[in-house]
């Protein structure tokens, strides 16, 4: 990642977009604060702190935007330079699939494939290493939690675990 790549007034300036997201969030927080009622200074309401925090967010975001416009900033491409960005995407996809399968299939039936996928897809580990680890690690954890710490993990529709 090279922070030296200054790109003035361009749409792919990552600093500008970071500031704009901050500004949008700040405006949303101000709106939420107003909706929750501010109360008075003698008796602040539920939205009081939210409202003023939102204003501060907008101010800080505005200063980021101004700096991005006047001084420029690194482009998105330079932030991901030399990075294998597909790998984090794969990890996120695997994790989301695991979370979706956790309750219907149970911990063991969802964790074993997750481990196998992570061991084989990112920086592939030999099958002879990947298979034992992907079976033993979740099973070992499940056993410790269930029998030693009395913590029940989901067992799913097949009631395995």
């Amino acid at each position: 990642m090279s922070d030296q790549t200054n790109v003035k007034l361009r749409l792919d300036n990552s600093e500008l977009w970071g500031g704009l997201i901050g500004l949008a969030l700040g405006l949303f927080v101000i709106w939420s604060g107003l909706k929750l009622k501010l109360g008075t200074i003698n008796d602040p309401g539920s939205g009081y702190v939210l409202f003023y925090t939102g204003i501060l967010m907008c101010l800080f975001a505005a200063s980021i935007i101004i700096a991005a416009v006047t001084e420029g900033g690194p482009s998105f491409a330079s932030r991901w330079e030399n990075a294998r960005w597909g790998k984090p995407v794969l990890v996120i996809v695997c994790l989301t699939a695991f979370a979706l399968a956790l309750e219907p299939l149970g911990f063991l039936l969802s964790a074993i494939p997750l481990m196998l996928l992570l061991l084989r897809l990112i920086d592939p580990v030999r099958w002879t290493v990947a298979i034992p680890i992907s079976i033993l690690a979740p099973t070992g954890m499940w056993w410790v939690l269930k029998h030693l710490l009395a913590i029940q993990l989901p067992n799913g529709m097949f009631e395995i675990g």
């Binding site: 702190v49 967010m57 980021i64 990890v91 994790l95 956790l102 920086d123 954890m141 939690l145």
Partner: protein, 502 residues
């Protein structure tokens, strides 16, 4: 005399077999996460937070504290032998520690790191025992205005010390406050920012947020680049530093210990700040500053003593005021709350067994760490050979289990994944997660104290400046906020700025 009686009482608690076991587990896991790059004390503590529920509060807190100061010891091993910091506080140890290892002096480097850490850890515990009870008795007089101002100061100090733009760090702190306010309003019981989701009524859990921002995000960042390790292959012999090494290290260890302790107490400070400050100080005081960066033992001894001393000092604001000075202490606060305890001025008098038991266990833990890190160094070196492509799926598995166990709810696993993605983009775009997490924990307390002080003062904002402690805190916070606008101070800030999430 009172202190001595309390220490004996504390030793009685700490030496219970179950507490000794928890202490050993804590320092062992701490060393393990310190040694392994890619997983730090924050991830390990949030992972094990639910596990503390199965024991007494003493056992749980003893284990969590052990992880923290244990990781400070373990982090130096990786820095010296692999040139990759095991955790953020050991970044600076890489500079001279790895150079010493390359010159065939890995043993003395590891030795002085462990002995320096032990000396500093011991000093900070004695100071903790002497300072905490006195500070707690003063803190009873603190009102909501003082608490509010102290928390503001803590957040501002952390944002000041965070790497990169201060506006970004402040924006992160504000987002943290907002996230901390999700759920029922503690005064009016009105739901806020819950979007109709019943899971959000109690707020967003600390564990999924921390595991996402630090654990998952770290894995995502590490997987996008191939991690290269330069492990020292020669057999490590002669761990005891020689006479010259001790002579050269005595000053840095003493100065690092004192500096670390005071920086540890400061809100927003902590072990990372302390180690950098100690390195800078030693370099400045040295007659041969050109040796730094080329294997100067002072560059290992000072920072290692400072980070351990700071780890002890950081307990003071938490135990006496109930205010966590950094993210690790925020997690420890979470552990107290899970057990129905509220750290603060009354904790030492109401729960003396807990406070003195924790302090005594920290001393025992320091002794355990000396054994774990010197005679057993070979075991940790072997562990360093575990490749990251095998390690990261295990980290992911532990984080998932930790998050699920904290609430028995799949919703928290989704929250963790979401914060993992957010954390990844934050790091890529130069936004540090540490201010967000500290503000997330302090947010509800900050709001509560602000509203209470406004109600008590009938809306008089002068209450924050009329009370001396509050006024000093706010003045100092204002100075730090205005400071970076001045070019000279901005340059100084860039020199001390840290990557807390490293």
């Amino acid at each position: 005399m009172d202190t001595l009686a309390n220490v004996v009482h504390g030793l009685g608690v700490a030496l219970l077999p179950v507490n000794l076991l928890y202490c050993f587990i804590g320092v062992f896991i701490g060393t393990l996460v310190g040694v392994l790059p890619g997983i730090g004390p924050i991830s390990a503590m949030s992972l094990l937070l639910p596990v503390t529920l199965s024991g007494t509060p003493e056992s749980g807190i003893i284990m969590m504290a052990g992880i923290y100061y244990g990781s400070m010891y373990g982090g130096s091993t990786t820095s010296i032998l692999v040139n990759i910091p095991g955790e953020a506080a050991s970044v600076v140890t890489c500079i001279d520690g790895h150079q010493m290892a390359k010159q065939g002096r890995a043993g003395p480097a590891l030795g002085i790191a462990a002995f320096g850490s032990f000396i500093a850890g011991t000093f900070s515990l004695v100071a903790l025992m002497l300072v905490a009870p006195s500070l707690a008795s003063i803190a009873i007089a603190f009102g909501p205005a003082e608490y509010f101002s102290l928390m503001v100061l803590g957040l501002v100090v952390l944002t000041f010390l965070t790497q990169g733009s201060m506006a970004k760090a402040l924006l992160m702190a504000c987002i943290g406050v907002v996230l901390g306010l999700v759920g029922l309003d503690s005064i009016t019981a009105q739901p806020r920012l819950t979007f109709g989701r019943i899971e959000l009524i109690d707020g967003i859990g600390l564990v999924p947020v921390v595991m996402g921002l630090f654990g998952v995000a770290e894995v995502l960042l590490n997987t996008e680049q191939a991690i290269k390790r330069d492990i020292i292959n020669t057999r490590i012999t002669q761990l005891l530093p020689n006479r010259e090494d001790w002579k050269a290290s005595a000053g840095p260890v003493s100065r690092g210990t004192l500096l670390g302790f005071f920086l540890g107490i400061l809100p927003g400070g902590g072990a990372v700040v302390a180690s950098f400050a100690s390195y800078a100080l030693e370099k400045r005081l040295s007659k041969h500053p050109e040796r730094f960066g080329h294997g100067a033992i002072e560059g290992v001894a000072g920072p290692e003593a400072a980070n351990n001393s700071a780890a002890g000092g950081a307990f003071i604001p938490l135990m006496t005021l109930g205010i966590p000075p950094n993210v690790v202490m925020a997690l420890l606060l979470g552990a107290f709350v899970i057990h129905g305890l509220q750290p603060g001025p009354l904790m030492i008098s109401q729960n003396p067994g807990l406070f003195w038991g924790i302090v005594a266990s920290m001393y025992i833990g320091n002794l355990m760490l000396l054994v774990l890190n010197l005679p057993m160094i070979g075991m940790w070196v072997q562990l360093l050979r575990l490749p990251y492509n095998v390690l990261f799926p295990l980290i992911i598995l532990f984080t998932i289990i930790g998050v699920y166990c904290s609430s028995n709810n799949v919703f928290d696993v989704y929250v963790m994944i979401a914060f993992g993605v957010i954390g990844y983009f934050m790091r890529k775009l130069g936004y540090e997660p540490a201010p967000l997490v500290l503000a997330f924990v302090l947010g509800p307390m900050l709001e509560n104290n602000l509203r209470k002080s406004l109600i008590l003062s009938q809306g008089n904002l002068m209450t924050f400046v009329e009370r001396p402690i509050s006024a000093v805190c706010l003045a100092f916070a204002a100075m730090l906020l205005i400071g970076p606008l001045l070019p000279a101070l901005r340059k100084k800030r860039e020199l001390v700025a840290l990557d807390e999430g490293a």
